[in-house]
Symmetry: C2
Subunit: 449 residues, 2 copies
């Protein structure tokens, strides 16, 4: 009999799980259930639609349910809420009360934007930017908006701030930490990005949590510390929390970071034991760090895809495991790119590591070649072992490949000395300097270790 | 007493050796001897000056001897030939007969273009493109040139062919192998590049060695197989051979590839024994391959810089070693980039390995994001161990970072499965796809293994 595989959630994790299960098992009955209307779109693209770099929201939807039915024999049930699950009886129950049996289950219900419980958080004019519908709602409200407050200066918050600034709005970013891109980015590299945003005319109120949102029928102002900022729109970019409704109802173990604890096979635990035939993927999963001793979150699109693959293969009866992560990330903030991988200085010090920093500056091509963009590379190493712990890069372009390069080196436990000695860089004047800023940063690090 | 360090050769290897020696020893007397007039320029940039992408030849000269004297207390003796060396007495002799003692010596005399001994090779109108003076000579001859034959379809040959085509010349490339970029590039990837060049109007005569160059007082035509191509200029891009004049005179051991055999410290051998206080760097060095069992050549600017650093540090009394190489390379051919690392299929098979090939196609950004360029990735793995052996990428941009990323993976002995499982890619719609073409190629490889 054909295996019945049920997937809950239609984001990058869920849809990759479905496609990977199909690739591994030609005969399985594969069904996806999702509360959303649209599937297979890129939430990371929303700021760029708002900015006008991407034509419209329809462009960022890659496939519709009909595509999955026709091309991959995957049944996608949109606007269909799964209200409960029985992992002993191996069934799920839908909101309409109907019950469906499964042989294996993938839970990929993702996360939602955490909204702090402040006055006025429910007023019209307060938006999150998580789902495509959120983006559409913001776009609809933009013509009647002159001034926007973005709460949270993480990469999504900054991408949105720049997008709306480029759309001609007055933009103020309110951040409770003293720097932008807190936790994953070091203060000095974050400063580069904030300076850039300020040159675009974006205002920042740092070190200050959002106090209240004022307004009678709709948003009229935001209070941050002692400042009141008149505005017609507030965008909450205050971090993503795992959707724990179903995991909690199933009694799954939740880890210290508020996400579901899983085995390397991405199976959850219940009362200390692995739950059979259930696999998790995406933003609700607690990950293991490849450089820090503790657990970590890796709420990234690329991680969702990689986990979706493992969960889908396992659900189809193959065996795959998901490894420890460095959570390589990159963001396009206006004309500036910033990316990072591994630990930031703050996180490394939180884990008790003594961190040494190395810097390299250069260009994205040879100095004499026209069109080069400035490239600033920061590497972090552990003073004791000399191993690379993390890296951050700010540049006009070509950040992604360098972050992936450094991710490979850190993953392999390379010391700063090993990087200098053995890691080659391809060179051609239009594409690189003969000594890349990454190599220069590694040499600087060796000098300081 | 201050250490006397003498460096012979002023290319990337020699000048990096000089600067590294200075960084390691503030007091040493450091002298560089070179036959050339200009130092510290990028020979790799010559095609792009000829193409007009770089303004002039003066732009590609980074520093003059005065800079080195003033900033680094390095004496550079231009147009000064070293005629012999005595490694027992530790002296060098200049062409004028004067003799100079050294405490340590770096030999970095590079390579020269091999010109096949054919009829007419000495005619006016026959050029090499190796030194900046060669480039200037070609540029001077261009106005009176309508038709050019480029002998050799390696990356330099193709870069020059495209440059001269863009400058409005009739260009024919003659290549003795059946494909462009032979040895380091696979036939299918080479085909992409040749197709591109043909679309620009460049003609190719493949599988055919240059037979003769015809002309009375200057070049009038080239004979290749049964074809005679009328032309006013011939550019020899027929491969680089190590300059063995001084090594031979010193009795240094020459390896099977016609380059000097060295220890990991870059010291040469004489009668089976390491030569004391002599270090080599750059195009005349025989390297060890990091993936193949045999020796290899790595005549690349980036390799010269890395070897120059090791030779310079050792010459200054530090201890550094040079590791096995993958010889990561990249080339800009018109609007197309091609790069590679590790073994090509042909070379891997030459070493008796059974090769499995995997392919990935994608774009340099998310599909819906404007401005993306096509990206074609090919990965090679060993059928027995599943280890990655090599990679090649053709794309409109962003090849270099991906080649460095894959170089790191191959260097670390990653199998195709390990790459799929553990190697992360940073994702943001303007900078990458959520699953990069590199990841897609690795998944394809795993399917085929």
């Amino acid at each position: 009999m054909a295996k019945r595989i049920i997937i809950i959630g239609s984001g990058a994790a869920g849809m990759t799980a479905a496609s990977s299960a199909r690739a591994a098992d030609k005969d399985a009955e594969i069904s996806v259930f999702t509360c959303e209307e649209h599937i297979s779109y890129s939430p990371c693209a929303i700021p760029f639609v708002l900015e006008g770099r991407i034509k419209d929201f329809a462009s960022i939807i890659m496939h519709d349910p009909e595509f999955y039915r026709r091309e991959r024999r995957i049944d996608v049930h949109t606007k269909t809420k799964v209200s409960s699950m029985d992992v002993d009886g191996k069934t799920i129950t839908l909101a309409d009360g109907s019950s469906l049996p499964y042989d294996s289950l993938v839970l990929a219900t993702g996360g939602t934007v955490f909204v702090p419980p402040i006055e006025g958080a429910g007023l019209p004019g307060v938006f999150k930017v998580r789902f495509i519908q959120d983006g559409m709602d913001v776009q609809k409200a933009l013509p009647s908006t002159r001034s926007v407050v973005v709460a949270g200066a993480g990469v999504i918050g900054l991408e949105i701030a720049v997008a709306l600034r480029h759309a001609g709005k007055e933009v103020t970013v309110v951040e409770m930490f003293p720097q932008v891109i807190p936790r994953i980015c070091d203060t000095d590299m974050a400063r580069e990005v904030q300076d850039y945003c300020e040159r675009l005319g974006i205002k920042f109120i740092m070190n200050t949590p959002l106090g209240a949102i004022k307004g009678t029928d709709k948003v009229e102002a935001v209070v941050a510390g002692k400042t009141e900022i008149p505005c017609e729109m507030v965008i909450m970019s205050t971090g993503v929390r795992a959707n724990l409704e179903l995991p909690n109802a199933m009694g799954l173990e939740i880890g210290p970071l508020g996400a579901v604890r899983v085995s390397p096979s991405l199976q959850p635990y219940r009362k200390g034991r692995l739950v059979k035939d259930v696999y998790l993927a995406g933003d609700l999963v607690m990950c293991q760090s490849a450089v820090a001793p503790g657990p970590t979150m890796s709420q990234l699109g690329a991680t969702a895809v990689r986990q979706g693959r493992v969960a889908g293969l396992n659900a189809a009866g193959r065996y795959a495991t998901f490894p420890a992560v460095l959570s390589a990330w990159v963001s396009q903030i206006g004309d500036l790119q910033i990316g990072g991988t591994g630990l930031s200085k703050g996180l490394a010090e939180y884990y008790g590591l003594k961190v040494v920093e190395g810097y390299g500056t250069g260009l994205t091509c040879a100095r004499y070649y026209p069109g080069g963009r400035r490239l600033l590379v920061k590497l972090l190493a552990d003073q004791e072992t000399h191993r690379l712990l993390g890296a951050q890069i700010v540049a006009g372009s070509e950040v992604t490949g360098r972050i992936n390069w450094l991710t490979a080196a850190i993953l392999n436990g390379a010391t700063a000395e090993e990087f200098v000695n053995s890691y080659e860089n391809a060179y051609c004047p239009p594409t690189s300097m003969v000594k890349d800023a990454v190599n220069t940063a590694a040499e600087d690090l060796v000098q300081r270790l």
